[in-house]
Symmetry: C2
Subunit: 212 residues, 2 copies
């Protein structure tokens, strides 16, 4: 087994990009790929690609040839947590919650086992439990991952209850700065922040364009 290493956020964000390219090549029955080819496709530096791959790959690349695609896919997927406890509870079955509940793209990474909400009780064929059952469900099902898609006013309160009941990782879609204990993994998926960044970049590009 490969020694555990801490992978930087920067690398972590590139791994799924590599994965997509590799899988695409695999469907084309291609056996090997070079870091140069990957880098060109993603507009990255080939050395950076090699460094990233070295962190997760069990086997080395062959000079003059490249990396074996099958092995690389396995290693990246493993590194990204395929072998992980990945059962989650969803809190809040509004539109966004429902979209996640029915999202097909998680592949093997996430299994939303149960959803709760304060009023709705079904979403298509899936049952939505009442939110007052939340604590019970988490404990009985021994779930450690929670997805928060409730209105922002309710988010911190929900978050506190989740932590108290043994949740270890929170994927937060509410636009608030949640406060969690240090040992809890918190990932914010804040659409307002994202769009702000996009607009800012567009503005910078526009200014650059006008000044040229």
């Amino acid at each position: 087994m490969k020694e555990k290493i801490s992978i930087s956020d920067a690398t972590l964000k590139r791994l799924p990009q590599y994965l997509r390219i590799l899988k695409e090549k695999q469907t084309q029955n291609i056996q090997c790929i070079s870091s140069t080819a990957i880098a060109k496709d993603l507009q990255l530096n080939p050395i950076q690609v090699r460094k990233d791959l070295a962190l997760v790959s069990q086997s080395k690349g062959k000079p003059g040839v490249g990396f074996e695609i099958g092995g690389l896919i396995r290693n990246i997927e493993e590194s990204l947590g395929l072998n992980n406890s990945k059962e989650a509870i969803l809190i809040g079955a509004g539109r966004l919650g429902q979209a996640l509940l029915n999202y097909k793209g998680f592949e093997n990474r996430l299994d939303i086992r149960v959803a709760v909400d304060s009023d709705k009780n079904t979403c298509d064929n899936k049952k939505i439990f009442h939110i007052k059952k939340m604590e019970d469900l988490i404990k009985k099902m021994n779930i450690h991952i929670a997805i928060i898609t409730v209105p922002k006013e309710k988010a911190q309160n929900i978050c506190d209850i989740l932590v108290k009941n043994g949740i270890k990782a929170i994927w937060n879609f509410a636009p608030v700065n949640l406060k969690v204990p240090e040992d809890i993994v918190l990932k914010n998926e804040d659409l307002t922040t994202s769009i702000s960044i996009l607009l800012k970049k567009l503005e910078e590009k526009n200014r650059g364009g006008k000044l040229q």
Copy 2:
């Protein structure tokens, strides 16, 4: 007018966090806040907060007192693109698309003027146009921002058409590596990548815990 400066991605991600704290304090009728207080709240370094604020703030902070909240809010919002062209078209009115269409949290940052899809034609009271009208709509409405929420197989094709019709910024929710010309702003909002990162961090924490 403040000179245009390029703000790093790292800073850009913190600005909305500051904004939330400032607005919260404002509702409490607090006039000033120190970088120390902001930093403590967000578990950041106060010097970092000051550097960030210096980049966007027109006025300086007062030693011994802090920053004037009202001015800071105005400056950050301005910096994040409040004054911007922010009309967008949404491509793909599936669950995720509908969630965005009805999302209340964008505040003044984004105005989804029109949505298109290949089959649906309404979403609540909002009209969804057929996708074959997409090019016309973009040109007639002079829209420069597009949101892609179509299935991944269709995303690159849609993307190419968007660029050809004058779209300058793309907010992509499809889990693919889109290829765009250099002058196009592309922001990926990839849920699969996000959850992978979350799982990876959880795994690292767990291992750390066990080893201690």
